[in-house]
Symmetry: C2
Subunit: 401 residues, 2 copies
């Protein structure tokens, strides 16, 4: 059996970022830049006033000096003349500095009456001026390729005069739930059947990671139905299957996809929940075969599908972020499989995070999983751990999972 890290590395090795598409700036939040975003102009575009006040020649701004106010430059209305000796021009934050002037006198350091300005605080050259290009210059890299665009990046790209941005296409993930026993919510439930929850939980996961889910109709447990599912997934970037509960289901998926040229890479990983994970390719299409039980499906999505989506989106595809926590209750020794214990997390006022594993770790217990704040990571063969020992956790609460 493979380790979780080996499995993830092998899965990611064969994945490449999706090609680029152009989207309006207004729809680019959360997308990943496919090329660097380069500033198309200087910011500020010229020397501008950093404050409300008056521009003048610094040599004219001795304490008590009196100057003629010869104009005003509100935002968007620059003053076109040249400030001469004994002259001042009214400015506001962001106003372009007029020619001739080399300093800004704050309005609170001056008195204006009948067009005459009295200097109440001596000026110095260059005060309260933001220089052209001080924020950035034309040609500067504002955003590097491969960065997920944040709110601030959208603002920065706008300032750099980009109405459109080139981003990686959203990864398309075809999701195929299989099983004679499952029904979509609200539809007639077959005898001995249950309502299918995996397909839509996985679709939500794909959305949460910035992908585009394609939920295929449920495939019955026949080779033909499963092969037809692979056909329906054409054009997707990943096919995710989620098996029925029966022992034969994975073999069935394997055999059904085999009719469409499945090349299997591996399908057992030393982990819990989720051991019978399958990875391979159907033609060019990467296949991730998830266990049918809902807890394993979600945990495997966090460990494998998330990094796959990130890699396809143009990001490195790192393992899910880990946080330090302190055990609030002891844990027994672990066996040879990496465990992911559903746990409650509680932050103390000093910032320490305490983790308590749930008593029941049954991988069919969706309600327990849904109430967990995170997963305590237990390495293979980890010895028993006492309350107070440090552990690593994957937070689910802050991931939107």
């Amino acid at each position: 059996m493979l380790s979780v890290d080996e499995a993830r590395a092998r899965i990611l090795a064969g994945l490449h970022p999706t090609p680029a598409e152009v989207v309006p700036l207004a729809e680019a939040w959360g997308r990943v830049a496919s090329v660097p975003v380069i500033a198309r102009l200087h910011q500020p575009p010229a020397d501008v006033s950093a404050m409300d006040g008056y521009s003048l020649r610094a040599e004219d701004g001795a304490l008590g000096a009196r100057l003629r106010v010869v104009g005003a430059a509100p935002a968007g209305h620059p003053w076109r003349g040249t400030v001469g000796p004994g002259e001042a021009v009214r400015l506001f934050t962001g106003s372009f500095l007029p020619a001739g002037a080399d300093t800004v006198l704050l309005q609170e350091d001056a008195t204006e009456a009948d067009g005459i300005l009295t200097v109440n605080e001596a000026t110095h050259p260059g005060r309260h001026i933001r220089r052209a290009g001080q924020d950035f210059s034309a040609g500067d890299v504002l955003i590097r390729a491969g960065k997920r665009l944040s709110v601030r990046d959208i603002g920065l790209a706008a300032s750099g005069n980009h109405p459109w941005l080139a981003v990686h296409r959203r990864p398309r993930v075809a999701i195929l739930a299989t099983g004679d026993e499952i029904a979509l919510p609200g539809e007639p439930i077959p005898p001995g059947g249950i309502v299918s929850s995996n397909a839509h939980a996985l679709a939500a996961f794909v959305r949460a990671w910035g992908g585009e889910p394609i939920v295929l109709p449920i495939a019955m447990d026949t080779l033909e139905a499963i092969a037809a599912g692979a056909d329906a997934a054409r054009g997707a970037d990943i096919l995710v299957t989620t098996g029925g509960a029966s022992v034969g289901a994975h073999d069935l998926v394997r055999e059904g996809l085999g009719a469409r040229g499945l090349a299997l890479d591996f399908w057992k990983i030393a982990m819990r929940p989720g051991k019978p994970l399958m990875f391979g390719r159907v033609g060019d299409l990467p296949l991730l075969g998830l266990p049918g039980n809902p807890v394993s499906a979600v945990v495997c999505a966090v460990l494998f599908l998330g990094p796959m989506l990130e890699r396809l989106s143009g990001l490195p595809g790192a393992p899910p972020p880990r946080t330090r926590a302190v055990l609030a209750a002891a844990l027994p020794a672990n066996d040879h499989r990496a465990d992911h214990l559903r746990a409650r997390l509680r932050a103390e006022s000093d910032g320490t995070l305490y983790a308590t594993a749930f008593e029941r770790q049954d991988s069919a217990m969706m309600a327990v999983l849904a109430s967990a704040d995170g997963l305590i990571l237990r390495a293979p063969h980890a010895p028993a751990a006492a309350a107070g020992e440090a552990v690593e956790v994957i937070r689910l609460d802050t991931l939107g999972v």
Copy 2:
């Protein structure tokens, strides 16, 4: 001047969750449940096998016993008969337990040949059975009202047989950028003008918080244009204005909206960046007037607009989450305004987060803001702080901001 906390409390006090709408389960991720989601069935629906194996009467399962295999119950095909003395029925994980049987013998603890099963490990009543309703029962609250729906909640709602979910309508936020000097990216830039970045950064923020942005055309610096902006915002849940750079801009917004009945609550907050924040109502429409400079606009969005969007979405509207960090470099004493220093954060391998404030805190520096990982919080009148002291930070990197 008001404190940040007082201002936020006064803003939130007048906001109420949006009304409910019904959305398909497949589109409900990230939305906030407006009523509890109640299980419509038991999960599992009946007593089911937790493993692959054979169901039988425990009293028949002594070591070495030989039983007749009288049927099989693959997933979705329950066995309709009653298991009698000396009989066994093949089961798989999730198969309904047939009548008469009261235990499951693991397949690895049995040998089957020619329809005869040999017991290699004695059985006990009730082993490897998941009871009906063990995960949840019909009538259980699966998801409480006011919870933002996670991936796991979508799975849970599906298992509970909900094809539709009632959620709060996305808050609609009308965004009005004002100023003679600004142009949308890619459009002709007026003389002395700059490219508008606030409107689309704020729109991205609204999306990141689950709202629906409505970016209004830029309003020129006239009372009529600003009043027309208020008219165009009708039907929105919040109107956000972002002023030009000139000193008069806020007065202009106030006067322009005054013509549409603006009732001003407050408009100065003891904070930096972002002092000239305005809050009030235009008729029924809450108004948040943000400073024109891009850094203040984003910081004020994090501090005020985010909680407003959460409150409208049916969540409590908590302040942005704070994290402990350690100063990597000393900070001077603070003045009377709460400061939000743009900073780099670096996590050490022991999990400690180190924070270094940028040298330049100019609130017009969008590139500096975009490269910040978080904001160091400095209380009013905070004394100088040495490297190694603990501070609180608002992480921007993990918020999508």
